[in-house]
Symmetry: C2
Subunit: 156 residues, 2 copies
DNA sequence: ACAACTTTGCAACAAAGTTGCAAAACATTG
DNA sequence: CAATGTTTTGCAACTTTGTTGCAAAGTTGT
């Protein structure tokens, strides 16, 4: 089955992009990986394992999803966003991320209404002065509140 | 079995404090709740469900721990700290927290070596300017790196 | 198109969390 | 301090989430 007609061009571009991303991480290009990566590229924000399991309508094994996400994190394709519920959420990395080393110095925003997680790439993480003796490695900022969409036109 | 001799005085004070905290949340004062609250009061930083299960040497049901932690969060006695692994971590709230509404505007620090989570009460959360349309409710800042103890005298 | 390698899906397992319910513990009266 | 009503605990059973080993299927490079 093919993508809807009006997606045709985008879809072709995406195919190339996806292959490139996977190859640059030394990962072979398989149907599952393409599917999952497509979901991330199309997603507004972050995705959890559960989101992917649901959205990937075609049959795809739970275990494959676990392993794919692990591989993507390890290769610096996606990164984990801290959450307060027990669900791990993942979002696409930017170019600065590489194998084993993530450098996502941007702010994450979680909407209380639609529950979408945004990566606010344009906003830099503010610098915090730590007490004597503490050495900073990485800083994560998670803001929750109401996103632009839900403010204007409340969802649900 | 009683607490060690040199803890006797502290222990008595703590008893009162614990009862007060529980009563102020309309929770009856039970052995399990006292035990868990004691662990939090004595802890340097945050605790996970697993930490509590291990440290509570006396027999205590897994399920009781789940329910106690849920009750404490709901009553504003403890709050959840966002993490990137799948483990929920809890820390004591300050006075500004009340039932259903948490306001912990402080920075959390997670040590990469000893894995302790500190609540840096003294440090205020910096203000972040959000894109147009986004409304902030609460900001969480989690910094990881090397804590003062591990820097001076590496653990393990 | 073949051989070497990687990935997938299955089965079986392990860990983490939830729910209903009866027994025990707690709080509140007189 | 004892009786009573309410809350909490522990058990059993279950659901959800995540992991590991291994044979079959898919992918890559020549």
């Amino acid at each position: 089955m093919r993508a809807a007609a009006h997606f045709e061009k985008e879809y072709n571009n995406m195919e190339e992009l996806i292959s490139e991303i996977l190859k640059s991480g030394n990962l072979s290009v398989t149907a599952s990986r393409k599917k999952i990566l497509t979901l991330f590229l199309k997603a507004d924000g972050a995705l959890s394992h559960g989101d992917i399991e649901q959205e990937a309508d075609e049959k795809m094994d739970r275990i494959t999803i676990y392993r794919t996400l692990q591989a993507f994190v390890q290769k610096g394709i996606i990164h984990i966003i801290p959450t307060t519920d027990n669900s791990i959420r993942y979002a696409l990395c930017k170019d600065e991320c590489s194998e084993g080393h993530h450098h996502d110095q941007h702010v994450h925003f979680v909407c209380n209404k639609c529950n979408t997680t945004y990566c606010l790439e344009q906003i830099n993480v503010p610098h915090v002065k730590l007490p004597t003796g503490f050495i900073e490695d990485q800083t994560e900022v998670i803001i929750n509140g109401l996103c632009a969409k839900c403010k204007v036109q409340p969802v649900k």
